[in-house]
Chain length 380, copies 2
């Protein structure tokens, strides 16, 4: 892919006016929120919680892109955003303040408003009979709540039925976990992963639209010889990188890293898989990259691995050694598929018991909004 | 360290007018090439090959900073740069075109002009009786040529004596190897590293001053909504990252990765140590970061590891979990020490047989020029 295309891709976005300049739609941008036939009487009623945020806006993009059928859709956000107007698929909606009553008559509620909002309003929505797909970490490790990547473990939510009148919670995994497991799972199914060493290269978007704006602003300031403004992050982000800003736990891992460790075990339903991770924030806007070293129980050679990944749903292989063309964050930005490349037998392991791979995925899309909407689609 | 200091650090440089704007000296910059007492009749005669490049300029900075004694110093470069004037420690020098005769009377020659120049002129310099410290990869794996990190394996060059009239070659390891082994070696000495999994976050400087300029120019272009200019790299670098641009070998590893694998074995004189690496170029100017997972033969707990690293020469520990303050490329830019943090027992390994660490080092300084000058100092 040439630099021009990638550059325009980089500029594409869900189209929220509150998103940073760098992410505004470009002339090449797909039409957002085009008028579709997905407004139907027999379809479920939806609610989007945190609709003005980066992921909330991407929820709308993905619902529209995939012609997700709905009877009605409620745009919910904090009091601060209430009253804002959003045009979605040809209709104008007024953003409503999130209230306990907000979920009356709502069949499916997509949450992305942070863990505390999910903890407070998730159970209320469930009591109102809504099926909640929650993008926060609030319920991910709750053993009664399925943690689902549709391509990986759809069976975990098989017992949850739309229209049963019974509310339920389904958790969306952390973005780094989703992107890593989209590539690792097909290989795990073939040769069983015993141990995984992950190093991440995480985009600003994981910290929200404000973090993306801060990266852009800081970069402008540094280029102008000014001191960079540090609001979201306490240190310079432009032309720099740093250990992920999540709190560091007593074992020295930060919460982001332990999500990869624990969520992998739950999603694979394998309490024995060994995972270690080092999570780093890099000055990239909206797609994560991950360097993943895999140790297997059974031998698997790199050609077999490549074939398996080429046939894996939601995965695209970009692995052109001659052209030195491999996945990059820009190339997967605003894309649904997770890209995998640098697929090679690990020279530090004997036989074919090890592989190194490099994975890139759009953090806002497959890492959050797309995966959540795919979960909702499985309910239809 | 606050953002302001880091920002100014970021702006500091060896002071070459050909370096990108972002790297020009700032008001806080140490005085480069100040008048020193290091010009002495009894000192060796020096030559700097590739003196107008990023590393060549840093050679001069480091020689001056460390008051390296010299009787005379020849500034050598390609025909293109010949005739340029360089003021060094109060004296003006004219850059001379590199010729076979350039090494007559030269005791120590510091080379950083690329592998082909080293292959062509290195042996000529040796025949002229010069001791060559070569920053290229040309002779690193030549078993007759010591590959040296002074803090790690000084014994490898013990047989090479200045003033013996006998020329010799000493190779400077690859930047990623130096930065990794500065931190891994003290732990290796205590508990013996069996296997190392490295993922790098490499700065533009590794591809030279022009790559640093391209990153700056592309970033300006992207911020202005323009298409980024791709000359040095074939894809967008600004707000992106990509697999290292070194050629990819038949085993799927690129040359940069195999340097880490092979140079580690040679420097540690341990043909059994298992190393795998994934090398990634990130949009950072002049310092590399590396995520390193270590497996040991003997148990070593994280507190012991931290104490060992705190006492290791050329290493500084930045490991403040409460403040979430760990090494960053900006914080080590223009610094001599390699910074280590995120020191923790690996949760994916039983007992205390594994550690994860995160390392940052200035690619131009300890990764190249400083290490070479330290090698030269051992000859005095």
């Amino acid at each position: 892919m040439n630099a021009i295309t990638t550059h325009h891709q980089f500029l594409r976005s869900g189209g929220d006016a509150t998103l940073p300049r760098l992410l505004k739609p470009s002339p090449l941008c797909r039409p957002s929120f085009a008028v579709r036939m997905s407004l139907r009487e027999d379809a479920p009623s939806l609610a989007v919680v945190g609709v003005t945020g980066a992921v909330g806006q991407e929820f709308l993009s993905v619902l529209s892109d995939r012609s997700f059928p709905y009877r009605s859709i409620k745009m919910l956000a904090s009091k601060r955003s209430a009253g804002k107007r959003i045009t979605f698929e040809g209709n104008e909606y007024v953003v409503e303040e999130l209230m306990p009553e907000s979920f009356n008559g709502v069949d499916i509620a997509l949450f992305s408003a942070g863990g505390s909002i999910s903890k407070q309003f998730g159970p209320i929505a469930v009591d109102s009979g809504s099926i909640v797909v929650d993008n926060s970490s609030a319920f991910r490790m709750d053993e009664k709540v399925p943690l689902v990547i549709p391509e990986v473990n759809p069976e975990a939510m098989a017992h949850i039925k739309l229209g049963s009148g019974k509310g339920a919670l389904i958790a969306n995994p952390n973005c780094s976990t989703i992107i890593c497991l989209m590539a690792a799972t097909p290989l795990h199914r073939r040769a069983k992963v015993l141990r995984m060493v992950v190093s991440t290269y995480q985009a600003a978007s994981g910290a929200g639209a404000a973090a993306m704006e801060e990266l852009e602003q800081q970069t402008r300031e540094v280029l102008e010889g000014k001191q960079p403004t540090c609001n979201i992050f306490k240190q310079q982000y432009a032309f720099n990188l740093f250990s992920h800003n999540a709190p560091v736990l007593s074992n020295g891992y930060n919460e982001e890293e332990m999500k990869l460790v624990k969520e992998t075990r739950k999603i694979w339903n394998d309490m024995n898989v060994k995972v270690t991770a080092t999570c780093i924030r890099v000055p990239v806007m909206r797609a994560h990259a991950e360097s993943v070293n895999l140790q297997f129980e059974m031998p698997i050679d790199e050609d077999t691995a490549r074939d398996i990944l080429k046939n894996a749903p939601g995965v695209v292989v970009i692995d052109d050694r001659a052209a030195n063309h491999f996945p990059t964050p820009l190339e997967v930005s605003n894309k649904d598929d997770v890209a995998v490349g640098r697929i090679r037998s690990d020279v530090s392991q004997d036989g074919n018991y090890g592989l190194d791979i490099f994975v890139c995925g759009d953090q806002i899309r497959k890492g959050a909004a797309l995966n959540a909407v795919q979960i909702a689609e499985m309910l239809l």
